[in-house]
């Protein structure tokens, strides 16, 4: 298989500097664009490539960019490109790898994306805990200024771009793009009402695009090699490759670049090595903490946005969290709900009050104090909190995804907690 995103990241990777990145074809797309492409040419290629956002929602990147007012349609002033490097979705560990070992690839992608929407200022909004990635990005940015890839008049094209790294001060909600913009403005990271969409009124009220790290890392390759080449990389209906991963009690947890549409079984068995000895697969979250559980019967599905969607879940970030048969599904769901309840920004009532309530009900069930009616309460909460439109943003509906699917697939386990008055998994000596 052709490696795209990880072509500079081998078995025992070393961080790629400017020389190494360029020696392997880096900044070719940038030179090509600065030399002979207009921003509408770039937008056309990205739209044609069918690239979809890799942050979790899977929104078509070209369509997102096409909403940015260009030329005379845009009032004079700054435009912004923001890289969302606030990787905080539970069980997600792909962007860290891309930034730590190939920081230039991300910067390359950011310059090209900023050029496409005619932005003059770009930010990498990165988790404060990613200390190594922050340092490597900063030194790579310095190399780019020295080479003339950033700053005034990039490669003699007349295009100007400044790039800053902004380490975050925490909070999961910063991954929501409008909350991220508020955080960048020095405010509390509370999501904004949409519309207006950031493409029209984002950072400081100016047109702004926010894209995930992995999405932006794809851009240089698409500009360099074209939309057709990118489409041909996928095995199913979606284009390109994707960082897939597996964590939990598998033999070989890790993160691998594979074609879109790779069957889950292949990732789980061939790459993750299947379950650790003595354990069976009970279920899995296909793409982070806010996706619905799937079962072993779903292993032959392809990792494509629509295929996973039809099965009742979401591909999300593509990094799977594996549930084994000795780990309590109620406990796992409780852990996720605790996380979301803690990370609620507190702005809207269903999320601020509803998630802690849900947590309390689950805590009761897990500790053996649950009653039958608790399951009805949970169903009511799922219906109320989980419905889009009842909450200010997607955090609380996302939190309901693992819960509703756990109730659907692992109902017996909930019942056993209630009828037995304790956690049956704890009794057998496991977590």
């Amino acid at each position: 298989m052709e490696k795209v995103l990880t072509r500079n990241i081998g078995e025992n990777p070393v961080p790629t500097n400017m020389a190494a990145y360029e020696a392997n074809g880096g900044y070719q797309g940038l030179k090509k664009a600065m030399d002979s492409m207009s921003n509408s040419d770039c937008l056309q290629v990205i739209s044609d490539s069918n690239l979809r956002g890799r942050g979790g929602a899977g929104f078509p990147t070209g369509m997102k960019w096409s909403c940015v007012p260009m030329g005379e349609k845009c009032t004079p002033g700054h435009k912004y490109l923001i890289c969302n490097a606030d990787e905080m979705e539970p069980g997600t560990f792909k962007d860290r790898l891309l930034m730590e070992y190939d920081p230039h690839q991300l910067i390359d992608g950011m310059i090209l994306s900023a050029f496409t929407i005619d932005a003059d200022i770009a930010y990498v909004f990165i988790r404060g805990e990613y200390i190594v990635a922050i340092e490597r990005l900063r030194s790579a940015i310095k190399e780019c200024y020295e080479k003339g890839y950033l700053g005034d008049n990039i490669l003699g094209s007349g295009y100007k771009l400044d790039l800053y790294v902004h380490p975050s001060a925490g909070r999961y909600i910063c991954g929501e793009e409008t909350a991220l913009i508020n955080a960048l403005e020095g405010k509390r990271a509370i999501p904004r009402a949409k519309p207006p969409f950031p493409q029209v009124s984002g950072l400081w009220g100016r047109p702004t695009i926010v894209n995930n790290v992995e999405t932006l890392c794809n851009i240089p390759h698409i500009i360099d090699k074209g939309a057709k080449w990118f489409m041909s990389l996928g095995r199913g209906e979606d284009a390109g490759t994707k960082m897939f991963g597996a964590s939990g009690k598998v033999k070989n947890p890790g993160c691998w670049e594979l074609p879109m549409g790779t069957p889950i079984r292949e990732i789980f068995e061939d790459y993750a090595g299947g379950m650790q000895d003595g354990l069976e697969l009970k279920g899995f979250l296909p793409g982070g903490g806010s996706t619905d559980f799937l079962l072993p019967e779903h292993l032959d599905l392809a990792m494509d946005y629509n295929v996973i969607g039809k099965a009742g879940s979401r591909m999300g970030t593509g990094t799977m969290i594996i549930l084994d048969d000795q780990t309590c599904p109620v406990g796992m769901t409780l852990n996720l709900i605790k996380f979301f309840a803690h990370e609620s920004c507190g702005f809207c009532t269903p999320c601020r009050e509803g998630l802690p309530w849900t947590r309390q009900v689950l805590e009761d069930i897990e500790s053996g104090k649950g009653v039958k009616e608790d399951l009805e309460t949970l169903a009511y909460q799922i219906g109320y909190i989980g419905a889009m439109g009842n909450t200010h943003c997607a955090l609380a509906p996302g939190a309901m995804e693992p819960l509703q699917s756990a109730l659907k697939y692992f109902r017996d386990d909930f019942d056993r907690h209630i009828s037995g008055g304790c956690c049956p998994y704890h009794q057998s000596g496991s977590a």
């Binding site: 997600t92 560990f93 200390i131 990271a189 991963g245 903490g289 990094t319 977590a431």
Partner: protein, 206 residues
């Protein structure tokens, strides 16, 4: 009336001069660098909090008021920002903050047990600081190293696949006397962060 007003003006000046002298020249310079790319001063609120915290370990009420004054915003507004973010500390913390991941992948791989062990070893629960002021223990959402769960950060260092051996090597043997503990911690831990994290992540990724 006029007299009273003048008195208040004098009072205000005294408070203000106290506040401004509370930020060091170095802090002011670093904050002003951030101000260069924001359209209004309060836009750099989080950067300013992080700058001051990096020098002082945490944000005291005095620090908060001094930053607010420098950014021409109210202390109450800045307090709202400061208390929103989990990496801004409004209470004193130890020399190193232990950020222990309690999210789902680490939980599956035994993070609860690891927490109990660290708590027992250091004698602190979440939110508490050791008596020698060396460590503060805080839970943190997913640290993005789930393939090597359970994980934690101690200061700037990321530790993966935490087990008894790692807990012992990071926190030392509590039975040792304080002096030797001190010398070991001081030798090599400071400024080795990047190197340590590198070797960890190089070992950790495939």
């Amino acid at each position: 009336m006029t007299e009273l007003r003048e008195k208040n003006v004098v009072r205000a000046n005294i408070i203000q001069s106290d506040i401004t002298s509370h930020l060091t020249a170095e802090e002011i310079q670093e904050i002003d660098t951030e101000l260069s790319h924001v359209p209004y001063k309060s836009g750099a609120a989080i950067d300013a909090l992080k700058i001051v915290q990096s020098k002082r370990g945490w944000i005291s009420d005095e620090s908060l008021r001094a930053i607010a004054h420098h950014l021409e915003m109210s202390a109450e507004d800045l307090e709202g920002v400061a208390t929103f973010y989990n990496l801004i500390y409004r209470q004193p913390v130890g020399e190193k903050v232990i950020l222990l991941c309690d999210s789902v992948s680490c939980w599956i791989c035994g993070a609860d047990t690891i927490k109990e062990k660290i708590s027992a070893k250091l004698g602190i629960d979440y939110g508490e600081t050791t008596h020698d002021n060396r460590y503060t223990l805080i839970p943190v959402p997913c640290l993005g190293a789930c393939d090597r769960a359970p994980v934690m950060m101690v200061g700037d260092d990321l530790h993966r696949n935490i087990d008894d051996k790692i807990i012992d090597s990071v926190f030392g043997d509590l039975n040792e006397d304080n002096d030797s503990n001190e010398s070991r911690l001081n030798s090599g831990v400071k400024n080795s962060s990047v190197k340590n994290s590198n070797s960890n992540s190089e070992e950790g990724q495939s």
